[in-house]
């Protein structure tokens, strides 16, 4: 593994790489995100943003109570979010637990959703507290069952204890399992890393280790994908592209429930890393309730009034 020539895989080189990163000023980062949240997105640009955001949704169900029936319903919605309007695009992916991957893949293929990938959460999601062989097996299982995207969690305990090399090696090993069969998204659980300095450090660590995407949160911890956290990650991705000529994707997840929230995220992308990232190959939004709000806002743009929530399907 070359790690883009940034590190040689040793603890010392990783530490030196991470220590060379400039710090993040909390007040400044929050002020920038707050300023960008004042952008007023109207009419044609709102329509474009809603359409684009739908294609970026990783439609997610991650509940202990998930059943094959629930997952199949989610897949149907993912392929055709609005059954009354075939111009609504499919979402970016369906995101489920490991044991639901084959159910999702089979059902998607059955209903003409071959173009919708299945993402599996992996590596003892959401806590990441398991041995490495278990994490590897978890990932291998998901890929074997048809997952094209792996959403792994990092070991936050190791990160906070300063054992960056352990976090790095885990990502490297999971990336090896993914090979060319699955895209790797690395979840930081930013609500547990707490500081923006840590978010920036984790971003550069994961990108060097081979992440295809960096993702904020599991959705199980609050706060999750706050605008300043996403801003800091987008800045890291932008800088990494300048260093390596490689585009890494970003996936905010958790707490993005309304069209307004989603549009704020798109504005962050547009004004930080630029329009190249405004497509589902490089930006995804992990969400469940968001999709229906996007559909309702889309209807409102067409019809000029807000419909009752009963005009969109519950799942």
């Amino acid at each position: 593994m070359s790690f883009y020539g940034l590190v040689d895989g040793s603890d010392a080189s990783l530490k030196s790489y991470l220590n060379n990163l400039s710090g993040v000023d909390q007040v400044g980062a929050e002020a920038r995100a707050a300023m960008l949240a004042t952008r007023s997105i109207k009419t044609t640009s709102k329509r474009w943003a809603i359409e684009t955001a739908i294609t970026m949704v990783d439609l997610t169900t991650l509940e202990g109570a998930d059943t094959p029936g629930k997952v199949k319903a989610l897949c149907t919605k993912a392929v055709r979010p609005d059954p009354t309007d075939s111009t609504v695009p499919s979402v970016g992916a369906v995101c489920v637990y490991n044991d639901m991957v084959s159910v999702a893949r089979t059902h998607l293929d059955l209903i003409g959703g071959q173009h919708v990938p299945v993402a599996a959460v992996s590596t003892a999601f959401p806590s990441g507290r398991a041995s490495m062989p278990v994490k590897i097996q978890d990932t291998q299982d998901a890929i074997d069952a048809g997952a094209a995207e792996i959403d792994m969690v990092i070991d936050r305990g190791a990160f906070l204890a300063g054992r960056y090399i352990d976090v790095f090696n885990e990502i490297v090993q999971i990336k090896e399992v993914c090979g060319d069969k699955a895209h790797l998204k690395v979840i930081f659980e930013t609500g547990e890393l707490v500081t923006y300095d840590n978010v920036r450090k984790a971003s550069f660590l994961a990108m060097a280790a081979g992440a295809d995407f960096i993702k904020t949160s599991t959705g199980k911890v609050v706060p999750a994908a706050t605008p300043p956290v996403v801003l800091v990650m987008l800045e890291a991705v932008r800088d990494f592209y300048e260093m390596t000529n490689t585009r890494i994707g970003v996936k905010p997840a958790g707490g993005i429930r309304t069209t307004k929230d989603a549009i704020k995220q798109l504005v962050l992308v547009n004004e930080t890393v630029g329009p190249d990232w405004l497509n589902p190959k490089l930006f995804r939004i992990g969400a469940s309730a968001l999709l229906n709000d996007l559909l309702m806002q889309r209807m409102k743009l067409d019809e000029g009034y807000y419909s009752s929530p009963q005009y969109v399907t519950m799942d």
Binding site: S22, G28, A29, R32, K42, L278
Partner: protein
């Protein structure tokens, strides 16, 4: 397809502008004799005709102010004065949208800034000083501080309503009455403020507003019935005022020009620093006396910071100030645009390298693209003279000591910025810098509780906070 933001214009319907205005004297609007136009600098549309006050109007205003001072305002308890100030503050908040739209139309600044900065801060100044009105004896300024009398106040065009608030709120809280003259190109929000005074039922004559140009200002400065002059504007005019009041008993505060150094050390948080540089010089089109107009970069990070700064500047949205997504609006006047253009040309002539992002400037109105000059040295005019526009001069330094020497090597001393993640360095630098306001890891942040003012040719006295109150009270030592 890319993410183009559709126009999002703020509605103008919330304001009604009269075709012609008079003065506000003794609680009433009185007709003017001569008039001059005020325009929207973004479109050159004539918004209204503003009255030019001559001797008769200034005399009447001073007389009204004196009468109100003697008969009402100086006799009223601080608690009662505070009630009026709170009432004014609340009305300003209620009518914030109206003030913001009017400010943007008359001044050319983006609606985002008038809405999110100017108007909320102006109201905050009234709220803050309202709280002081009945507590003056506890301000550490002596046991029974007394007002000065009638204050003549002359304010600039860059933050019209906010500068009014900085002047009027402390004067009134301390028990003075005022004769205020807004800048010639931006009188409209002051005249709307006069309506607010009526709405708040402020006793007649406590606030008097006369409009006009430099000749009106001169009448105020030289008026024998005025006890105190407060001026914000250019150092050139400040010196004229200082000479005029020197042989008189008038007390004076001056808030003048600046050429602030914004110093970036190599351990700065780079992305937020870039934001701070942009905010420091392009906020309000650079029409800011405390603007971070000299960027001092440590040589070992200069290239990285400049690269990121240029990328960031490509995202600045220049255009219609009424559009909610506009970041940089119009230059306030033809004269100011000519001054900026002349100084930028001097930068070219002296061999500095000019760079601006690609931006389509409107054809009508007064516009200047955000601009940086690199390769600037201390000997360049653009490193010494205040440009008062969206033009940044970039210099480099090698050691912290050199940064301080360069930063202080100016006749001005209003503000400075320090960017570093190292607390000890920030504290050390802030002790060495000869500037009245020093920001650390931020820039252009204002708060009514914080005193504002300069060293050297940047002014006399402070505005805001407890220090600012002392400029309107007698029997206490002035700075």
């Amino acid at each position: 397809m890319s993410f183009e933001y559709a126009p999002a214009p703020e509605s103008r319907a919330v304001v009604s502008i009269k075709p012609k205005y008079g003065h506000f004297i003794g609680g009433k609007f009185v007709a003017g004799s001569k008039h001059f136009p005020t325009i929207n600098p973004a479109t050159e549309e004539v918004l209204s005709q503003i009255a030019l006050a001559g001797k008769a109007e200034v005399d009447a205003a001073v007389k009204a102010a004196r009468k109100a001072y003697v008969s009402t305002w100086s006799k009223m308890s601080g608690k009662e004065r505070g009630k009026y100030l709170y009432r004014i503050a609340r009305i300003m908040q209620e009518r914030a949208r109206e003030f913001a739209v009017l400010e943007t139309l008359d001044n050319g600044k983006p609606i985002r800034e008038s809405r999110d900065t100017d108007i909320p801060l102006a109201a905050a100044h009234f709220f803050y000083h309202a709280g002081w009105a009945d507590k003056l004896e506890y301000a550490g300024l002596g046991t029974s501080p007394k007002p000065l009398g009638v204050a003549g106040q002359i304010i600039p065009w860059n933050f019209p309503l906010l500068m009014l608030a900085w002047k009027v709120a402390p004067a009134l809280a301390a028990g003075n009455t005022v004769v205020l003259k807004p800048a010639e190109s931006t009188s409209l929000t002051a005249l709307l403020f006069a309506q607010v005074c009526q709405q708040a039922e402020l006793p007649a004559g406590v606030v008097n507003i006369v409009t006009g140009d430099g000749s009106t200002g001169s009448l105020i400065v030289n008026h024998p019935g005025i006890d105190k002059i407060a001026f914000t504007g250019s150092t050139e005019v400040g010196k004229i005022i200082a000479r005029a009041v020197a042989p008189t008993k008038k007390s004076v505060t001056l808030e003048l020009g600046g050429k602030a150094a914004n110093i970036v050390f190599d351990d700065a948080p780079i992305d937020e620093t870039v934001e701070g540089i942009v905010n420091g010089i392009f906020f309000n089109q650079g029409h800011v006396c405390c603007a971070g107009s000299r960027l001092l970069l440590q040589e070992n990070v200069a290239e990285e910071v400049l690269h990121k700064l240029k990328n960031r500047m490509e995202k600045i949205r220049v255009g219609d100030p009424m559009d909610k997504n506009t970041d940089v609006g119009a230059i306030n006047s033809k004269e100011q645009l000519a001054k900026i253009t002349e100084l930028a040309a001097a930068g070219d002539a002296e061999g500095a390298e000019r760079w601006s992002p690609t931006c389509n400037l409107p054809t009508k109105g007064f516009w200047f693209a955000p601009t940086i000059f690199t390769g600037v040295t201390q000997a360049h005019r653009i490193a010494r003279e205040e440009i008062f526009g969206p033009v940044l001069s970039v210099l480099t330094f090698r050691t912290p000591q050199e940064a301080i020497e360069k930063a202080n090597n100016t006749p001005f001393g209003l503000s400075a910025g320090i960017w570093s993640e190292k607390g000890s360095r920030t504290l050390w630098a802030s002790q060495q810098l000869r500037a009245g306001v020093i920001w650390a890891n931020t820039f252009n942040k204002f708060d009514p509780t914080s005193p504002f003012g300069g060293y050297k040719e940047s002014g006399w006295g402070r505005e805001g906070g407890r220090h600012g109150l002392s400029a309107y009270l007698k029997g206490v030592s002035h700075e």
